[in-house]
Symmetry: C2
Subunit: 299 residues, 2 copies
């Protein structure tokens, strides 16, 4: 499978040997340290022939929501790369810089920068929503370069969340099962069945349960295909293929309002945007690639 959006991060992340506060302070203070400010989780991009992320120097910290919540993403060629939430787009913005959502940026940035953006967005969102200790309710503080937070009262350590979710292309006798989300705006838009892995289940069990719950089908032969970070806010998409035991399906009517079978020609047309009846996710989504792989694989 091709390189998936958000999975090309080239930074060397801080590892166990670097868990000393002084090390983070020294990195952050390096004159060539680069800072990516996120405003309402939107990232700055310099548009043009080759759009790329706009980085700032430490001066941008004047606009930080909280200077204690600067996250060291990693280093590249010895240069530290950091991210910080800002209260407003910094006024020193270079001409042509715009703040945009990661969904829009994923398809125009180089793979490497989309990967960095995924890490930055997930981490900044996590810090923003974990300023208090879930154990005792008291304030927490970022430690270890923002890699975790510590409770100021009970000393509990809190780690960034990564939420594993399965997404599965279900097939039966040469056709693929695509489902439509229950929402007034879905129109012809359909995708693979997906859902979060729950506590106490394997990937394969999550696939079987989600397909049964959402579209009433029994599947077997669950096969892992690929994975992708999906920073909305911090999902690990786990892409699978599975085989239905029959063509019987029944949308749950709550999350899914329609589940139908499509043959390879129909899905191929939709992937190329030339179907009048079926719309599928864009190439930044792993669902797109699960479908493309299935269309091209005539086994």
């Amino acid at each position: 499978m091709t390189t998936l959006a958000f999975s090309g991060n080239p930074l060397v992340r801080p590892s166990a040997e670097h868990h000393a506060p002084e090390w983070f302070e020294s990195q952050r203070a390096l004159p060539d340290a680069r800072f990516l400010p996120l405003h309402r989780l939107e990232a700055p991009v310099l548009d043009g022939a080759t759009p790329h992320l706009a980085w700032w120097d430490a001066g941008v910290l004047e606009h930080a929501v909280d200077r204690a919540d600067v996250v060291l993403l990693g280093t590249l060629g010895g240069i530290p790369h950091l991210a910080v939430a800002v209260t407003e787009p910094p006024p020193t913005t270079p001409e042509g810089t715009e703040f945009r959502d990661a969904r829009r940026l994923a398809s125009i940035l180089p793979d490497t920068e989309a990967g960095i953006l995924a890490q930055a967005r997930s981490m900044i969102d996590w810090h923003t929503r974990h300023r208090f200790c879930a154990v005792c309710g008291q304030p927490t503080l970022a430690i270890e370069g923002g890699a975790r937070r510590r409770c100021t009262a009970c000393d509990a350590r809190h780690y960034p969340r990564v939420d594993p979710s399965v997404i599965v292309l279900v097939e039966f006798e040469g056709r693929a099962l695509l489902a439509r989300r229950a929402s007034g705006t879905a129109g012809n838009r359909r995708s693979c069945v997906a859902g979060f892995v729950e506590p106490g289940e394997s990937i394969e069990e999550a696939v079987i349960r989600e397909v049964r719950e959402e579209v009433g089908a029994d599947v077997e032969a669950v096969e892992y295909r690929a994975s992708q970070p999906w920073p909305f806010p911090s999902t690990l998409m786990i892409g699978c293929r599975a085989r239905a035991r029959s063509a019987e399906v029944r949308a749950d009517g709550v999350e899914i309002d329609s589940a139908e079978w499509f043959d390879r020609d129909e899905v191929a047309a939709a992937l190329e945007g030339r179907s009048a009846t079926l719309e599928v996710p864009q190439a930044i989504a792993i669902a797109h690639h699960l479908m493309r792989e299935w269309v091209e694989d005539r086994r």
Copy 2:
């Protein structure tokens, strides 16, 4: 790969169509509802020729740490199965019942009961450590049969954590790389390299990073093999195989103090417990099965 410990849960979990408070109340009130009390996360087991989990009726709720935190795990043949944390082992304990840790129980319980126990342990631990809102610091309440919590002040919804972790058997020219954790008590005990997936990375990227960080090796051809829920407290173990680019390794000295290559005969002996120099994880761990599969697979 054989059925892995903790992955045989037969319960039908509550799904979207059942997210009404009345439904949960009615389930909990059914006279044949079964309750699993956990005391300090230990579960009650009736030992004997065929050890099995000991279930209570609703009377056990007298000993609940918090009666609002009863978790509906799911149903089996229409019978609701619930879990609750208790302040002490209930005095109505049937003769011979003991409270034991899930690690010890995994190898003696039937697969189905070990699977239920995994879900119960992860969920009860999550509720215990999420009594406050990470966003605003105010108290949270269990909703939807314990499937999530809601903040009493800011109304934020909180979902149970599942932490994806990769674990990888690294091979190079017919030998497997096994690492020893840096701790005075590890002795001859070695296992596969493992670590949590971080925000903004795929499974494959996590494998490459962990191996590089912990044992200084570069790997390629990362291949998914199997997954397993590991309820300590709520990990999703993602088992992989990968190929090193060379035999060069260097333990990081922090998490790992030794990393060495072993051939198939050495690993086979250790799996059967007849090696004087190498000790490997028991059969409840996915690492055991990654090694066994590699030993038996001479490709």
